[in-house]
Amino acid sequence: MYEILEKEVLAPTIKKLKVNAPMIAKKTKPGNFIILRVDEKGERIPLTVADYDRETGMISIIFQEVGYSTKLLGQMDKGDQIQDIVGPLGHHIDLEGYQKVVLLGGGSGTALLYPKVRGFHEEGAEVISITGARTKNLIILEEELEKYSDRLFITTDDGSYGHHGYVTDILKDLLEKEDDIDLVVAIGPVPMMKAVADMTDEYGVKTIVSLNTVMVDGTGMCGACRVTVGGERKFTCVDGPAFDAHQVDFKELMNRLNFYQDEEKLVHDTAVEEDN
């Protein structure tokens, strides 16, 4: 069992938990993820490690409540115990050798972006962060991003905060004006990552996306997370989760992400009925 030591509500549906997991904290690097199971009947869900402290043995996870399992996790509080956590899984991102990096986070994808922002900053790169959300109260981690970014841009779809529009608007502007950007990192909903990939492809800038596929074991055993990258089958859990954005088959990825929609709805609705 893994005890929740702190809980923070970042936005109405975005929560941050600090959990006691010393073995994982000791080994995590930016880009790694964990798999957790809330309780005995729960699914195994993959979540990126947002932050870690090797001294205190704590890891932080940030997640958006999108389905039954993440809602259940969101209801947990300080002192509660999470049944299982395993990790760190996946490859970490190689941070070395970049001078100027643009990092884009969409919605709760910003939580996944944050450790990379910090990582690139600590490696001495010039860091430009762009975070976007539907509306102002869904913008998260502004302070943290500010701290580790040389420049920070904020966008909202409804114009309630920052630039009125999308993260790609800002990116386009940067790509037009600055030709020394040597890496773009995008993490968020699939359409956003695809839009970024299409744009940077035109400018010939190397781009990495981090994929959030369906997973079961997370150790290469089941193949549920398979994606096509550069025409080859890859397992997101052991070959990723970060891939060259210009090689990813986003259409297939989108299709695979939607496979269990009906089943997820059924679990969710059953739980709502039980509550009433």
């Binding site: 073995m23 994982i24 080994k27 199971r37 009947k41 729960g42 699914e43 195994r44 039954y68 399992s69 049944q83 299982d84 956590i85 395993v86 990790g87 760190p88 899984l89 079961v216 074991d217 150790t219 290469g220 055993m221 089941c222 193949g223 549920a224 398979r226 994606v227 096509t228 089958r233 052991v238 297939e252 299709n255 695979r256 939607n258 496979f259 269990y260 089943e263 997820e264 059924l266 679990v267 059953t270």
Partner: protein
Amino acid sequence: MSLQKKKTPMKEQAPEERIKNFKEVPFGYSDQEALVEAERCLHCKHQPCVGGCPVHVPIPQFIQALKDGDLVEANQIIKSKNNLPAVCGRVCPQEEQCEKVCVMGIKNEPVAIGRLERYVADYNMKRGTDKSSAKELEKLKVPELIGRKAAVIGAGPAGLTAAADLAKFGLDVTIFEALHKTGGVLRYGIPEFRLPKDIVDQEVEAIKELGVDIQLNVVVGKSITVDELFEQGYESVFIGVGAGLPRFLNIPGENLNGVYSANEFLTRVNLMKAFKYPEYKTPVVVGDKVAVVGAGNVAMDAARTAKRLGAEDVYIVYRRAKEQMPARSEEIHHAQEEGIELKLLNNPVAIHGEDGRVAQMECQQMKLGEKDDSGRRRPIPIDDSNWMLELDTVIIAIGQNPNPLLTSNTKDLETKSWGGIKVGEDQQTSRRGVYAGGDVVTGAATVIKAMGAGKTAAENIKNYLLEKSKK
């Protein structure tokens, strides 16, 4: 009294009943049936059955104890060599091992050794007399090893066996398991109706009582490395992480929704209990028409599972003929009884989809040619014979490769071209003090072979540690 020529039959659930539930298919012997079957053992002098067993269970001796009515003793005799008797009595391919060489089997059917093993194990498990006796354990203790630390990676058949034997020698054993449950393939792979999970739980419990500590959710290679285990004072490491990387056909359409690897399908149902969805939250989608590609035991397990999840038509699609199916004949028989249809001499060439989901599988008919390297007649495609099988789900059960997660993160561990770990006859790897066994060495094989390797490794780890402390 003349001896009964055939095995005493074991009663089982009728096919039309069992396809509606996940309960175990055979019921096991009654006391009377077990005694009748035990009487068939000839107690021949040279005991070929013992040599036919990968862990050398003293078979005639346990059968004698059974005949004498001492079932606790019978179980202790089995446990002296086999740490998982209730599992082996169910899933061992006895027809290829002990029963294959049984003298009774020359003219008649062999003694049903597997069924008797299962009977003895179940009898004792139910009564709580399944633990190894203190007297027996005291005999096995090696004074020089008491309290020294040994690590085991993977809580499947190989790892559990190695851990149990090492603990019996007096070592302080820790198993590191990547999943959230013990058992490895016994948990995620073999379905409930063939191996109930409470049996696995009880077998694991008996191993824990030997003093084995099991740490779940630890992926060695990621959470901790083999080098770090040595730094933490473990003097030996046994690797039994299995063959867990699913193979695909590499045909168009394999990433459509509705295509599962057998590993994913069975893991969802067995480990995550998707058959109890939505009470358990992990879903699995089967639809009405399911094809399982492949013809081994895993394919049979997947097909019979799909049937129980409500699929109406379940097909086994296999490019060779029935004689060449690798599954146990008992499993093929059970599957056919349950209405699973064999589409033999058919090779899938593409999966076609509609709206991103499986709709049809295109198969090409085959015929048998000359024998190939495997000694089986080679399947040859027949021109212009492609046809479409309407489907909702395709399950690929054509085998697994070793998972590279551990080997690629462990220094100086030599592997074979296909990824398996290289070991000597003593199961030692290219690194001193590091041993390996089971599917990660042999490629996908059987539970009992993995247990045999675990046993050999434990014996050699004992010798290695004794040797080491002399220096």
